[in-house]
Symmetry: C2
Subunit: 383 residues, 2 copies
């Protein structure tokens, strides 16, 4: 039986209710939501509306219609960044962002958008003072992850949100590594644009994500097309969520996400974080005991995402992860994890790190097996 | 038990193997494809590659990597149209297109792209001569559906493809209403861009679609982000399919689509079309016998998609579909079906039509029930 420690890429397994609700959706109301008036279509639409409401409650969004579904967090980030920024605008970001943020910004910087990349502390995240000092007259947006997908480092989202709010700059957060483990409150944190994947900490399937779009923000859509309502108009409708949801949505994916959210709300986010913190504590404490381990990011289990990056001296991380799997049956990930800037920040470009990422469904036994494997590999390499 | 006749919106039910393969994917190899080296991730990636190869075989595409997965056909159409056309380009389309084509073109026409909309015959589709005559020096693209989602009218795709090829104009086809029932051969039909949904005639779930991008065509991507490989680059990679598939894909959706394709290949497309043609023949013959029925589009079952639009004299189509469902438990669709131009073409703007659309899983008994319902409603309205 595989020990799955690649939950930062996608959580596995999901709660059984996720598989069941997807199948129930497809078998019992697998019609096209919002397109027809018959009861299967209406039931599909109602399920989607209810999921939107659940997510709104989860992120403290007052108007659920401002939450739009996308294929994944990457699409949500593209919609937010490219839908908002125009030539002449200035955007501030950090040095530990994922390519889903960096690649759209690189493209825009070739088309007249000014980009400031602030060096982030791998232990403490971005410095609020650095952000404040970087704001200029033409600053339109600050975009940051809540937690790094390489080191689990948290950015001080609440403080940055206050600074953005005071400076009348929009604030966009990518909560791919924190949603479901940490509370993300768009009102308290002054978040104007929140991008999330459904298939990580929210326990939905791959193929679904979303973007919250704050009041008064009018993004240029990435796509136009059929929206169910307003069929007579040649232009994309103005009202949300239709404006940003052209074509048939991933209805079974939304049903799965809904079950994932209900699972989290039932268990309670505190209980989930507490368990994950315990596992991270066990893992970090163990890794600290193993010789030749270089551990990146925050060195303790408090105030961090459940994503741990390490190396064994000069060993190629991909060799380590291969041995972890082939000898010890542990699924981890090595390399750059689609975040080259993060590795430049922590000094692991270009080989990257071995990344171990935990979920609520991992056990102390999984962590023990991981520690035994890393310990054995470290001993073997030292011979 | 509902009689489901809304298959042009989404087919239902799916083959049982579709539900099973989605669950198998999520339970047994629910990792992130292309992101990690461990065996669950590799298995997910291999399944996606194999599905790409199946689709390539299905559409006679020589290089599977030129087939990219999208959220739905609408995204595929947006990628093709907006990724190709630049200000000053001329594009030719028909008067019976879906909003997924018309809305992007309307937007582009506001930004310097010239659009010619050719009036289509509801019986025979677009006239090849009209298309030939519309081609100008700056014509870059002809974009047409294979079959109308309102009337089932087929466009003469083969002939238009020849004209496009001779004139060195790109040819884009939306096969949303024909894939799985008619053979679509990109080489024989000279199709440069082929957009398809997974959840209609291909029997996959909602949430998956795709675009074939012909050799030598370099589209501007809609999105940039993580692509698994080439993590070190700040720019979107050049190679396909990664260039157009940023972020985590809908892996369970692709697994479902794969099962749908295998089902079709097993049954044989001829057998599927033959059964659907039989049902359409039965339905049309029956409708022709009912007084007060106005039938749009092709009047016989040959050479058409299994989508039938009608009205009962001056009755509001939405009233008719409500009675069909509430009294007779038949799920049909009424209104504009996201294709206002088609209704202007057939004279049913703005109330639209009642649309009945069939699938391989319908039976002659379903058609009889539909005919009984329409007959009873027609009698009732005539009193």
């Amino acid at each position: 039986m595989v020990v799955y420690l690649d939950n930062a890429a996608t959580t596995w397994p999901k709660p059984a209710s996720v598989y069941q609700s997807m199948r129930d959706c497809m078998e019992n109301f697998g019609a096209n939501p919002g397109r027809s008036g018959h009861s299967m279509a209406v039931r599909a639409e109602r399920m989607i509306d209810q999921t939107r409401e659940l997510l709104a409650k989860f992120f403290n969004i007052s108007d659920p219609s401002r939450l739009v579904f996308t294929l994944n967090a990457t699409e949500a980030i593209n919609l937010g960044i490219k839908g908002l920024l125009k030539p002449g605008d200035h955007v501030i970001t950090g040095s530990m962002e994922h390519n889903s943020v960096i690649r759209p910004l690189t493209l825009l910087s070739d088309h007249g958008v000014e980009v400031t990349k602030i060096t982030v502390s791998q232990a403490d995240g971005i410095s609020p003072d650095d952000v404040r000092n970087a704001i200029k007259k033409n600053t339109k947006l600050i975009v940051l992850n809540h937690g790094s997908n390489v080191t689990g480092t948290l950015n001080p989202i609440g403080e940055i949100g206050r600074i953005a709010h005071e400076s009348e700059v929009y604030f966009m957060v990518d909560c791919a590594q924190t949603a479901g483990m940490f509370s993300v409150d768009v009102q308290e944190m002054n978040i104007d644009l929140l991008a999330f994947p459904g298939h990580k900490g929210l326990f939905g399937p791959q193929g679904i994500g979303g973007l919250y779009i704050g009041e008064g923000i009018n993004l240029v859509p990435l796509k136009e097309g059929g929206t169910g309502g307003n069929s007579e108009a040649y232009y994309q409708p103005e009202q949300l969520p239709s404006r940003y949801e052209s074509g048939t949505p991933n209805t079974p994916g939304i049903a799965g996400l809904s079950a994932g959210l209900k699972f989290i709300m039932n268990e309670g986010i505190e209980k989930i974080r507490s368990k994950e913190e315990g596992l991270v504590d066990q893992l970090l404490s163990g890794l600290h005991q193993i010789p030749h381990i270089i551990l990146y990011g925050p060195q303790t289990h408090k105030n961090r995402a459940a994503v741990i990056s390490f190396n064994i001296n000069n060993a190629d991380p991909s060799d380590v992860s291969v041995v972890m799997e082939q000898i010890f049956n542990i699924a981890a990930r090595s390399g750059l994890h689609c975040a080259p800037d993060a590795h430049k920040t922590i000094g692991t470009f270009k080989n990257g790190t071995v990344r171990v990422s935990l979920s609520y469904f991992n056990s102390p036994d999984d962590v023990n097996k991981c520690l035994e494997a890393v310990s054995a590999i470290s001993r073997e390499l030292a011979r």
